[in-house]
Structures are given as structure tokens and as C-alpha cells.
């Protein structure tokens, strides 16, 4: 008799649990059926070391974006606090890696000076380093095989990226350089190299600047709060 009661009680509990689980699954499924996106992208900024990095992580892990019919594109961005930490870390790394205060390697800084010197010499000018090299070779009775007449004009050898201080050569680099030159902007600046941290931000003044890896998005005209963050 006692055994029968125990069996009946356990069966009842099992049935209740099963029903509760089923109702939970059905309610979640019905919400997902009811709310469905159009399949477009939602670009979500989040702070990598912050609490608000959890929701995009969970959404991706459980594919909630697919479930609700949109594509989540998490974009790591820094808050002002994280920015200070990053800046401090970057300063430390610069000290140990030979970068200057602008985040530029010394050879790139020399390139900037080279570019300014070439610009001062005009369209047909040669940089001081190459002029010195050329004069030195002539004085030694050697042919300057590296400086053919057509190459001494403002072209591949006049550009700072072709300066000998950079220590780069080869067809691949030349092709990339030509591509960058082909898309030079009206103000004379050139787009950043892909994947690089630094570029010649203002060649006219010979300054080097830090450029972000991400593209600049236009500032929206107005923003509206749609929901609290999990940690707000």
C-alpha cells in the first residue's frame, strides 16, 4: 500500500515537471514565432571587458539572433574607462617597443621627414638621402643603377614608402603602393594601409597619427533609448 502511494506520488511529480518543462519550451517558442525580425543586421557596440559584453556573447552562443530573425554583428568598442586603460597599456608597450609618443616607429617618423624633404624639392626632386647616395656613387665612378631617369621623377622612388629607410621592396609592396596612390584623395592624403596602426596622417606637415582600425561611421542625427542594459 505504502509502495503504491510512493509510486503514485513520484509519478505525479514527474508529470508536473514534464508539463512545466513543456509549457516553458512552448512559451519560448511561441514568443519566437510571434516576434520575428526581417533578417537584417543589428550592429551592437559593446565593451569587451565590461558587463555589457555578456548579452552579445550569450546571443551568439545560443544563436538567439537567428531564432528571432536578425543577424547580430557585435562590434567591440571602448568606454571612456576602458579607453584610459588601453592608453596606459599602449604607453607601456611603446616604451618597450621603441615607439614614439605618437605611436609611430622611428623609421616611419624618418619617412615623414623624407617626404617633406622630397616635397620641398618639387616634382622632379630627389630626397637628400638618395641625392647623397647618388653623388657618392658618381664620385666613385659607379653607375647609379637604382636611379633610372624615369624613376627619379616623383613616382615610386620619390614616395616615402619607397624610401630606403623603410627597408621594403618587392613586387607585392610596389603593387600595394600603386593601388594606394591610385586612390589618393583630393587633398593629397592617402588611405590607411590595411591592418596598420599608423599611417602618414598628414604628409604635408610630416606628422604621424594614430588611426583606428575600424571605419568611421557617421554620427546619427538623434538617438533614442530603447532598453536598459543588463547592468544599468
Amino acid at each position: 500500500m505504502m509502495a503504491n502511494r510512493t509510486f503514485a506520488a513520484s509519478k505525479l511529480i514527474h508529470t508536473i515537471l514534464l508539463a512545466a518543462t513543456l509549457s516553458l519550451v512552448l512559451s519560448t517558442a511561441s514568443i519566437a514565432d510571434e516576434i520575428k525580425g526581417d533578417g537584417g543586421k543589428v550592429r551592437l557596440l559593446y565593451n569587451e571587458p565590461g558587463t555589457n559584453s555578456f548579452p552579445p556573447f550569450v546571443m551568439k552562443k545560443f544563436a538567439l539572433d537567428k531564432k528571432y530573425g536578425f543577424e547580430l554583428v557585435p562590434i567591440a568598442a571602448s568606454t571612456s574607462q576602458a579607453g584610459r586603460q588601453c592608453t596606459a597599456g599602449r604607453r607601456r608597450r611603446r616604451r618597450h617597443s621603441g615607439l614614439d609618443h605618437a605611436g609611430a616607429h622611428a623609421d616611419r617618423r624618418r619617412q615623414a621627414h623624407w617626404h617633406r624633404a622630397v616635397s620641398d624639392l618639387g616634382e622632379h626632386g630627389r630626397g637628400p638621402h638618395r641625392l647623397a647616395l647618388s653623388e657618392s656613387r658618381r664620385s666613385q665612378g659607379q653607375e647609379d643603377r637604382h636611379l633610372q631617369p624615369q624613376q627619379s621623377r616623383l613616382g615610386r622612388h620619390a614616395h616615402p614608402s619607397a624610401a630606403p629607410l623603410q627597408g621594403r621592396s618587392g613586387k607585392r609592396n610596389d603593387a600595394a603602393r600603386r593601388r594606394r596612390a591610385a586612390v589618393a584623395r583630393p587633398d593629397g592624403s592617402r588611405p590607411a594601409r590595411r591592418g596598420s596602426d599608423v599611417q602618414l596622417a598628414d604628409a604635408g606637415h610630416g606628422r604621424l597619427g594614430q588611426v583606428p582600425r575600424t571605419r568611421h561611421h557617421p554620427q546619427p542625427s538623434s538617438r533614442i533609448w530603447i532598453c536598459p542594459t543588463p547592468h544599468s
Binding site: 520575428k36 555578456f54 550569450v58 552562443k61 531564432k67 536578425f70 533614442i224 536598459p228
Partner: protein, 105 residues
Amino acid sequence: MYSADSTFAAANPERMKAFLAALRESIEIMRKDDAVWVERGNIMKIQGQSLVLFRDEARDDMMMKFEPQTEADVRKVFSVLLETGGSQLIGVDALPKDFMTLAYQ
């Protein structure tokens, strides 16, 4: 707070609603599932007792949606801050007329 470009939100209401639904479900998961905290904590280099403290505090603070009185509460807090610190410290003189919505929840 999560904010969206008002033009984008008005043009894509279904996507906004879908995002917020996914957000609510992700919060439900974070409230129940300890494993996601461990997994994400490893990435963030938060482990052990620190992770437990962090998780419990964050779970208590989690809000899933705005309540009808939330905007009034925010405006009240802002008025106290403005009175105490002044507009120069806060950076603005007043909150915009429409700055939060319950439309997509």
C-alpha cells in the same frame, strides 16, 4: 542603456523588437545558467571567487525592460543632479523631450 538611431528604429521596428526579445532571453539565460559566466569569465580573465561576486552582483542589477514610470524616474534623478552639480558639470541643461521609448518592448 541601449540606444538606437531613432530614424533606424522607426524604419525597422520588427528588427528592434526581435533584438529586444533576444536580449530578454539572453538575460533569462544569464540569470539561470552559471556556465555562460564561467565561459565568458575565462575570456575576461575573471575566475574563482571574483567571478562569483561579479556574477551575483550583475544578476541583481539586470533589468529587462523599461517600466512605465522609468522615464519619470530618470527625469527626477536628472533634475536632482542638475540642481546639485549644475549644467556645466553635467554637460547639458535639460533632457530632450523624447529620449526613451517603450514602443519596441
